[in-house]
């Protein structure tokens, strides 16, 4: 079975990359192909990376409070590029009141501090199955 390909990205100006790096490594250890973009990526750069890498999933790590700007833009760009089948998950500090809004624009997994790594691995595995096997 082909490996799941995941782009892990840190959008915005924030440099706190502990979470992004730990999860990148956990996904890799779980057998996925992980591409970490590094810091300060614009939504355009992230979607371009996902396109180029033929990613099955994009993981965004956002702790700064800028998620309501960044996430809609990423989803819009995916749509424009016909990449609606790419799973998008977000990890970081996301206030409860924003979660329904993010779900509504198509972000399926939102992982708050304290989420076990295995839960994220399982979620990505489950939700990329149809794309990976296609």
């Amino acid at each position: 079975m082909p490996k799941i390909r995941v782009v892990i990205a840190k959008p915005g100006l924030d440099g706190h990359d502990r979470g992004a790096k730990v999860i990148a490594r956990a996904l890799r250890d779980a057998g996925m192909e992980v591409i970490y973009t590094g810091l300060r990526q614009t939504p355009e750069q992230i979607v371009a990376a996902a396109l180029q890498e033929d990613a099955d999933a994009i993981g965004l790590s956002i702790l700064s409070g800028a998620h309501m700007h960044i996430c809609p833009r990423v989803m819009e760009l995916l749509r424009e590029n016909g990449m609606q089948d790419v799973l998008v998950v977000v990890g970081g500090i996301i206030p409860d009141m924003d979660i329904p809004k993010l779900n509504e624009i198509g972000i399926k997994g939102i992982f708050l501090p304290g989420t076990p790594m295995q839960e994220i691995v399982d979620f990505i595995t489950r939700n990329t199955r149809s794309r990976v096997e296609a």
């Binding site: 915005g12 100006l13 924030d14 440099g15 706190h16 990359d17 502990r18 790096k21 730990v22 990148a24 490594r25 956990a26 890799r28 992980v34 970490y36 973009t37 590094g38 810091l39 300060r40 614009t42 700064s64 409070g65 800028a66 998620h67 309501m68 700007h69 960044i70 500090i93 206030p95 409860d96 009141m97 708050l112 501090p113 304290g114 076990p116 790594m117 295995q118």
Partner: protein
């Protein structure tokens, strides 16, 4: 040799321990019991000494907190300068004894609110300060001669410090009466927090320029706060935090000396900033080891003659990373215990985190409770009545020596690489920290390390708490103020000041006076940083996972 297997009294039934091994949060194995044998190599006068005496293991002041309590300095900032100014006045009214400015990401990264990367970030993680006009508002009605201010700012530290100096001047406060701290620690940005702009070497020049300028003009200002806080938050162990922070300190002193400064002219104004994490005794030992190591470094490595150069002074913040979004009230307890460790370790100032900080910036109620936590430790527990109460504990002394030894081994490795700048360029501390972060996360997953409310004692449903929500109005107000500023200021004067700054940066002039001129002309943070970007370029890291 004392081992943890053979400490039960003869004849007693050896009781089975409840787990195979006991380790600190950093993974350090801990024995069941410590005895005089563990500290047999220590000599009181040489290795500990009374507080106020070299090597200051027991503290830098002979009277400890009997002379002066630590400064209760709560880090705060959000939205616009107007909003944050109100929060500062409230904190001072509640008995806070110093201010500590949290800037937003655009300010920290030297970008104006109208830059594309500032989208959604203005006023979110701290207060937005774009120009001198914002700094005037931030300290409106607050006498800069009567308080001390700490500013958490690194890449654009000189720019924001220049603004503070000009506001003081406007208030009629002489620069030699000003007291406070700028973080100004770029090395830990490359290592951990990643808020860098320029490559390491020109970044170091900005810092030595501040050392030289302040030695002459602002002698009571702490020119740098060499920070382990962020290194720890990024996942370092206690020993790595200690080692990398103090090795950064060595690098700054070396650059200062290499720039031709007399070590005793600037070293007394270096201060440090440590994390206080949850492993109580390991943290206390870390602070004690830090003082001992630094005293030796300054006296023996740099031949500093002034005892003030030998004394390590530090600020502490409780560990943000230890706070949980689950069962947030538990965070009050975590913070109180971490704060107690910092006090028992002899911190000079302290920030206690608020219970809601795994969710958002703190509400006013949460920030007040965090301050009250410190006041209870200071005034109700009795721990401030005595200096270094844990000195002489077999366990704490052994831990102190072990941490020191581990840090010195890291110094050797980094020295062999050619110093900290070279080690950073090789990705060495970054890799060490990433490794520790991942190991810790694995221990949590395996429930080898228990986090209450997260992987044990979990509640079905957490009661939601009210949080501070920062909307877009701050960004809108800052954007419209910036537009107005660009319309009304003398733009020819701004251009001239920025050109002079670029010329100075290309040569060897001290950048501080040039930045002060640009600030007076109301040049923005983004414009000043861009001017230097033109000359020095920008740093890009190779990410390590």
């Amino acid at each position: 040799m004392v081992t943890n297997m053979k400490t039960a009294a003869p004849g007693a039934t050896a009781s089975k321990e409840r787990r195979g091994s006991f380790t600190t949060i950093s993974g350090r194995p801990i024995n069941q019991l410590y005895t005089p044998q563990d500290v047999a190599a220590l000599d009181y006068e040489r290795d500990l000494a009374d507080p106020g005496t070299f090597p200051y293991t027991r503290g830098i002041h002979s009277a400890g907190y009997r002379g002066k309590l630590w400064t209760m300095r709560q880090f705060a900032g959000f939205g616009t300068p107007e909003e944050t100014n109100r929060r500062y006045k409230q904190l001072l009214k509640a008995g806070g004894t110093g201010l500590s400015v949290a800037f937003d990401l655009p300010t920290l990264m030297g970008r104006d609110p109208d830059h594309e990367l500032s989208l959604g970030e203005v006023g979110k993680c701290g207060v937005n300060v774009t120009s001198l006009a914002d700094m005037e508002t931030l300290f409106d009605g607050i006498d800069l001669g009567a308080i001390t201010t700490s500013m958490t700012i690194n890449s654009p530290a000189s720019m924001l410090f220049a603004m503070y100096l000009v506001v003081a001047e406007q208030q009629g406060v002489a620069w030699d009466c000003l007291s406070g701290t700028i973080q100004n620690d770029i090395l830990k940005e490359f290592i951990a927090q990643k808020e860098y702009i320029y490559p390491p070497r020109p970044s170091m020049r900005l810092i030595t320029d501040v050392f030289a300028f302040c030695a002459e003009r602002v002698p009571r200002w702490n020119t740098i706060s060499v920070s382990g806080y962020h290194i720890r938050e990024a996942g370092a162990t206690a020993a790595q935090e200690l080692a990398f922070t103090l090795r950064d300190g060595i690098e700054y002193v070396q650059y200062g000396v290499d720039a031709g400064l007399d070590v005793d002219a600037f070293a007394p104004r270096l201060s440090f900033f440590f994390n206080s994490h949850s492993d109580f005794f390991e943290e206390i030992a870390k602070y004690r080891a830090a003082r001992r190591i630094w005293a030796h470094v300054m006296r023996d490595r740099f031949k500093a003659k002034s005892p003030r150069s030998w004394q390590l002074r530090f600020h502490t913040q409780t560990a943000g990373v230890s706070l949980t979004a689950q069962q947030p009230y538990n965070n009050v307890v975590r913070t109180a215990l971490q704060a107690l460790a910092a006090v028992l370790g002899g911190t000079q100032s302290l920030h206690t985190n608020s219970l809601d900080e795994a969710l958002a910036l703190p509400t006013e109620e949460a920030a007040t409770l965090a301050l009250r936590t410190q006041q209870i430790i200071a005034h109700e527990t009795g721990v401030a009545n005595i200096v270094d109460p844990l000195g002489g504990s077999y366990f704490v002394e052994k831990l102190t020596s072990d941490l020191e030894e581990e840090a010195l081994a890291y110094f050797d490795t980094i020295d062999r690489m050619g110093g900290m700048v070279a080690a950073i360029e090789k990705g060495y501390p970054q890799r060490e920290i990433a490794e520790s972060a991942y190991k810790f996360q694995q221990r949590v997953e395996e429930r080898d390390k228990i986090i209450v409310g997260v992987n044990e004692f979990v509640s079905e449903q957490d009661e939601p708490i009210g949080i501070l929500y920062i909307d877009e109005s701050a960004a809108e107000r800052q954007l419209s103020k910036l537009k107005e500023l660009r319309r009304t200021r003398d733009n020819v004067g701004v251009r001239g000041a920025l050109d002079a700054l670029k010329d100075g940066a290309r040569g060897s002039a001290n950048t501080m006076p040039l930045l002060i001129d640009a600030v007076r002309a109301y040049a923005t943070v983004g414009e000043m940083c861009d001017a230097l970007r033109e000359v020095w370029g920008e740093y890009e890291e190779t990410p390590i996972i």
